[in-house]
Symmetry: C2
Subunit: 276 residues, 2 copies
C-alpha cells in the first residue's frame, strides 16, 4: 500500500447507456461519444455496460452472431487510442476464433487490450446464444491500482467475487445489463454489490444499461460503492454517468478491528471439502 | 418441497436482549422469561443472541471461564422442556470437556439438544478468550424445515453461508452480538444478511443484543429477511422481538428465471483451485 502522502484518488466514470439491439454502428458511435465525454470530465477509469455494441435481446443466435466482433477488432484499438493515461472497460458480443459466441468485456489502455474476460455465469436465455467462459476473473495492474473484471450475473456468485478479491482486486468493475425484477423498484442487485464490497473490502463499480428493448425493461442500476460498502454515486433513471473518486490501493487494508482481517480470518481448510 | 396446499408458514421470534456481563443467574432468568413470552405468542422457532447467558465484554479469560457452562448443563434441558413443538436456538459461553472455551450455540427441541455449534470465525478480542470451532455449520431437520446455525461474524464469510445453503439450510439462524460500527447508524450487517439471503435464496434470522456493556455499544440489529432478501421485521432500539411468518421449504426453489438456478449455475470446477 502506498504511504498516505503518496496516495491519490482515481476518478471513475460509470456510463449508463441505452444500446439499441442490432444497431452496431449507432451503438459504437454513442459509446464513443460517451467515452470522449467521460475523458473530458477527467475520468481515469471509464466503464461501459455489458453488450454495449450489440444490445441484448437477440431474436436468435444468428442475430447475435451478426452483431458479434472479434476480440482483435480495430474498434478496440480505436477506443484505446482515445485513452491517454486512462483505462476503459467495455462489454461486447465476441465472436471467438473458435467460432463460438461469448459475452465478453475487455480492459483497454493506450497500449491496447490489457485483458479479455468471457462471462462465466450466463443469465437465463443467454445460455441459448453464448458459450460460458472458463477463465478466471481478469485482474489487471494499472497505475491506479488493480482492476478486476467480471460481468453482470457473475457478481451474484460469492465464490467468484471472493476469488477476484483474493487475486488482489482493488476495484471490481462490472459491466451489467440488469433487467427490472418483478415486484422491485430500481436494481436490487445494488444491495449485493454493497455487501460484496464490504465483505471483501473492495470497491465496486457497475455500469448498467437502461431503457426498454423488445419488451424487456432495464433497471438502470449504474453505481459505485466504496470498499466499506457505502454508495458513492448512482445514475438512476435515464442515460448518465456515476462519478466517484476512489483510493484504489486503500482496498488492500483488510483489517476491520485490532485482530480482524477479512481475508486472513478465512478458514480455507474448512471450506475446501464443503464447497463442491 | 411440499406441494403448495401442504405448505404452512412457520412463526419465527427473534429476541433482542441486553445481557449483563457476569450476571449468569439474571441473564438466564431474563432469557427464560423471553422464551416463555415468545412461545406464548405462538413462536415455533425462537432465537436468542450470541452469549446470552454470559454477556460479552469479559475482563479476562478467567472471567469468561467462570461464566461458561457445559454443553450438557441442565439449563439446556430446562429450556428444552418449555418448548412443546417449538425449536429454540440460543448462544452461550461453553466450557468444553477438553477444558477449552468456545463461543457456542445450540439448537434445542423438546427432545433436548439437537445440535451444538462452535463459532468458527472469531471476532477481534474473542480470539484471546475462545478457541475457534472447526465443525461445519449445523443443519438440523425440523418439522418446519431445515434450520442452519452459525454465529455472528461467521455470517460475513460468504464461503460459510454458501456452505450452509449447499447443506440444505432453509432458514439460517444467526445469534449475534454486533457492536456499533464507527460512523454507522444501526447495524450495517443487515445489508450483508439481506444480500446473503438473496444470493442463496435462503431466509435468515439474526437475534442481536442491545445496550452498552463496559463501554461497548451494541447495535440492536435483530431482524428477519426472507429468501428474496426482503426485510420482514426488525426490532430497532431497545429489547424486543422481531416476528416473521416464513415458509421455510420455499427456500428450496433456487430458480430465478426460466434457465436460472442460483445453485445449479455455480461453477465449482472453476472455484476449487482458486479459493485457497
Amino acid at each position: 500500500v502506498k504511504p498516505w502522502f503518496d496516495r491519490r484518488m482515481t476518478r471513475i466514470a460509470a456510463v449508463q447507456l441505452s444500446p439499441v439491439v442490432g444497431d452496431l454502428t449507432g451503438n459504437v458511435a454513442r459509446a464513443t461519444a460517451a467515452i470522449e465525454a467521460a475523458l473530458a470530465g477527467g475520468a481515469e477509469v471509464v466503464v461501459l455496460p455489458e453488450l454495449t455494441t450489440s444490445g441484448y435481446v437477440f431474436e436468435s443466435e444468428a442475430e447475435a452472431r451478426g452483431l458479434a466482433i472479434d476480440a482483435e477488432d480495430p474498434l478496440l484499438a480505436r477506443w484505446a487510442a482515445l485513452l491517454g493515461d486512462a483505462v476503459l472497460v467495455v462489454g461486447f458480443a465476441e465472436l471467438g476464433r473458435d467460432g463460438l459466441l461469448y459475452n465478453s468485456a475487455a480492459v483497454l489502455d493506450a497500449s491496447g487490450t490489457r485483458a479479455l474476460y468471457r462471462k462465466v455465469h450466463l443469465w437465463d436465455l443467454e445460455k441459448r446464444v453464448f458459450t460460458p467462459g472458463s477463465g478466471q476473473p481478469a485482474v489487471v495492474e494499472t497505475p491506479f491500482g488493480r482492476i478486476g473484471l467480471m460481468i453482470c450475473f457473475d457478481l451474484e456468485f460469492p465464490e467468484w467475487t471472493r476469488i477476484a478479491a483474493l487475486a488482489g482486486t482493488d476495484l471490481l468493475v462490472v459491466p451489467a445489463n440488469w433487467p427490472v425484477q418483478p415486484g422491485s423498484e430500481g436494481a436490487p442487485e445494488v444491495q449485493i454489490a454493497a455487501a460484496t464490497a464490504r465483505l471483501n473490502h473492495m470497491a465496486i463499480v457497475v455500469a448498467d444499461r437502461q431503457g426498454t428493448e423488445r419488451g424487456v425493461a432495464w433497471a438502470g442500476g449504474t453505481h459505485v460503492v466504496g470498499a466499506d460498502g457505502g454508495l458513492i454515486d448512482a445514475v438512476g433513471r435515464g442515460d448518465g454517468v456515476a462519478w466517484a473518486d476512489v483510493d484504489l490501493p486503500a482496498s488492500r487494508d483488510k483489517r476491520q478491528a485490532t485482530l480482524v482481517d477479512l481475508i486472513a480470518d478465512r478458514r480455507p481448510d474448512l471450506y475446501a471439502p464443503l464447497l463442491g
